[in-house]
């Protein structure tokens, strides 16, 4: 276990991943504090998803490490995963399980006590507007409903850090707003969200700090104002700042 730092929710140190001769993620180090929403931006193939998959324990880093609330994903994977939820752009659902059965299953994986899981499932399904659909198999759900059920699955064990890869992909305006509100509430409750998105407005409105990754390297990081200063585009939109920083690299 690394040196305990109560303010640190997620810390990456020299995280590196190679696929054959290609280095997908190259020595990425960053820190996300508790109660923070951090957006990771980058062009297609920049290494955002690979980074998040290493943090979630789905890929083993070739070098470096990721610490979730001080627990190494390499040496203490169980403790790290216990505090983490990972939601990819395509929700991790079982089409033939009902919404309730799915939440029961996920709660079982994370070892949530049955009574607590039932209570939490009720809260989440009502909060996400899926209560009426709780006995329906998720294969009958719309894209937005699936995304919300995936989110409920991620929240059932009350994680401290939530990792979301393109959480708003394919959602209509109403569903996207719901998810954004839910993530904001989650962060307000002192939890941490790390997300990737290609929609600049989302990062601009929601993220406290933004990391820009390009060619596998973290090329810039900070608040929007800090990024503006780094790019030399004072008063510019995040989109213009992002394009400038990526072009400068």
């Amino acid at each position: 276990m690394s040196a305990p730092d109560d303010a640190s929710a997620l810390r990456l140190t020299g995280l590196t991943k190679r696929f054959g001769s290609k280095t997908a993620v190259d020595d990425v180090s960053l820190e996300v504090r508790r109660g923070e929403l951090y957006a990771l931006l980058g062009p297609n193939g920049a290494g955002k998803t690979t980074t998040l998959r290493m943090v979630a324990g789905l890929l083993t880093p070739d070098a470096g490490d990721a610490f979730v609330r001080g627990h190494s994903i390499r040496t203490e994977p169980t403790a790290a995963k216990q505090r983490l939820a990972f939601l990819p752009d395509d929700p991790l659902l079982y089409g033939k399980l009902t919404a309730l059965e799915y939440l029961d299953f996920v709660a079982g994986l994370w070892g949530v006590a049955a009574d607590r899981a039932a209570e939490r499932a009720t809260e989440l399904l009502k909060w996400l507007g899926l209560w009426e659909n709780r006995f329906d198999q998720s294969e009958t759900f719309s894209r937005g409903m699936k995304q919300k059920l995936g989110l409920a699955g991620g929240l059932i064990h009350d994680p401290e850090v939530m990792i979301l890869d393109e959480p708003l992909t394919g959602l209509d305006a109403a569903a996207a707003r719901d998810v954004k509100d839910q993530l904001t509430d989650f962060v307000k409750s002192g939890k941490t969200v790390v997300l990737t998105t290609h929609i600049m407005e989302i990062a601009e409105q929601m993220a406290e700090r933004i990391g820009i990754i390009s060619g596998g390297r973290l090329i810039a990081e900070g608040t929007l104002d800090e990024l503006r200063a780094a790019s030399g585009r004072e008063g510019g939109t995040l989109e213009s700042v992002f394009l400038e920083l990526v072009a400068q690299r």
Partner: protein, 513 residues
Amino acid sequence: MIRGSLPWLLRHELRVRWRELTGETKPSTLLLAGIGILAVAHMILWGIAGSLRDVLTTPLPPAAVPLAGLAVLLVFPFGIATGVNHAVVALFDRGDLDLLVSSPLGSRIVFGSRVVAVAASVFVGLGLFMLPIGSIGLMLGIPQLLGVVPTLVALSLVCASIGMLITLLLVRWLGPRRARTVAQLLAAFGGMLLFLATQVPAFFGDETDFGEVIVNALSHFQPGAALVPDSLVWLPFRSMFLHPLGTLVALAGAGLVAWLAVTTLHTSFARGVGLSDTRRARRPVAEGHVRFTERGAMTVLLRKEWKLILRDPYLLSQVLLQVLALVPAGYLLFFTGSAPLGDLDIGPALAVLTVVLCGTLASALARIAVVGEEAGDLLASSPVGASRVKRGKLLASLVPALALGVPISIGIIFQSPVAGVVALLLTIVTCVTVVLMRLWNPVTSARRDVFKRTSMGDLVTALLEGFSPITWGIAAYLLATGSVWSVGFLVLSVALFGIAFARARARGVDVAV
């Protein structure tokens, strides 16, 4: 060719079908498989034709017509089952109907092209087994048997039309997914019936002159009997012997059936396209408290696997098909060389059957659990370790297979103690080894594609996994009969397992469970 015409659309249909076929299998492999099937069909038919040579002399005896009619009727259920199977694919699997139906083309043309395309598929399917009749006829100096070609054309059109009708009815009653499942089971049973029909001579044993049996049967069609060969009932079947009027009637009749099918069904078809959404009607949901039961991670994993399998009729049907595929092998085991069942040592035979059956079942379930895993990332990102997840999948595949195999083996012990013990031990070993082999070949794909060749993963490991129950089964038989050759097959089976293990290690797969 006029764009938008029936032939134009038909050409498109056939091209898409060909691409689908060659997308899954190389054209050279398809060609070789076709040649192989034709060769086997020639050999089987040559054997039957040999015993019927006296009957099939030129000029053909009048009784040959009812015989041909009965043969065609025998093939008919298989043809319809094939038609239903292809109809489900053509109507609901290809996913291009929304485009076609939303185009200015009439539904009659769209549906008509699908009927003809399905007929072409039925023609190929049945032709592999029936067309050799024509070539064997030529070899035997009975060129009239080339009439099998127009007969097959007519049969294919009729089967496709009826197949479409049944499919639309099934879809209406059961929804597309269940209709697909039922259609595949129909096709499997049809194929099995056809196989068993080809084995009819073996049932009569070596001492029976099959030709004589046929001649006796044909006495029912002699003058004065109900279905005399001259009866108009047999007229379409005369096409089998290139009888001009019979051929005309068969082709015209089939064309009429197809026309009627297209004319009466094309509107239902256009409506049926919208049925591809299988969402169930919402039922009122009562308020109430949610209650979950306290369970360990392993129980949670097992319940998930079994629930998902039990709720998927398509996967269940595929498992059943895997087991049904053993029927011909089982038949050959019990009846090879017309061995009378009375002389057979039933214990060893049951031992091999149990081992192969349970091994195949375990293998099929392991494919669903491993290949069909829908949320692998969820499991991997959970605190439950990868080994525990693998053990869960191992148990989920083993328990149903052993729940079947262990009681059967214990039953065999009462009949034949040695064979029973062998069956028990080797059933357990076989099931464990095949499931481990699948765990070491961890590819994933959509659940509906679990049993497709493209979802096999490492081909060599998949083949080893497929052959393993057979080699273990042979070892079980030899052990139960006290043969020293059993050692060889035991070594071979262990070697197959060892090769799969070594290959998995070489590919960097985590082999620990």
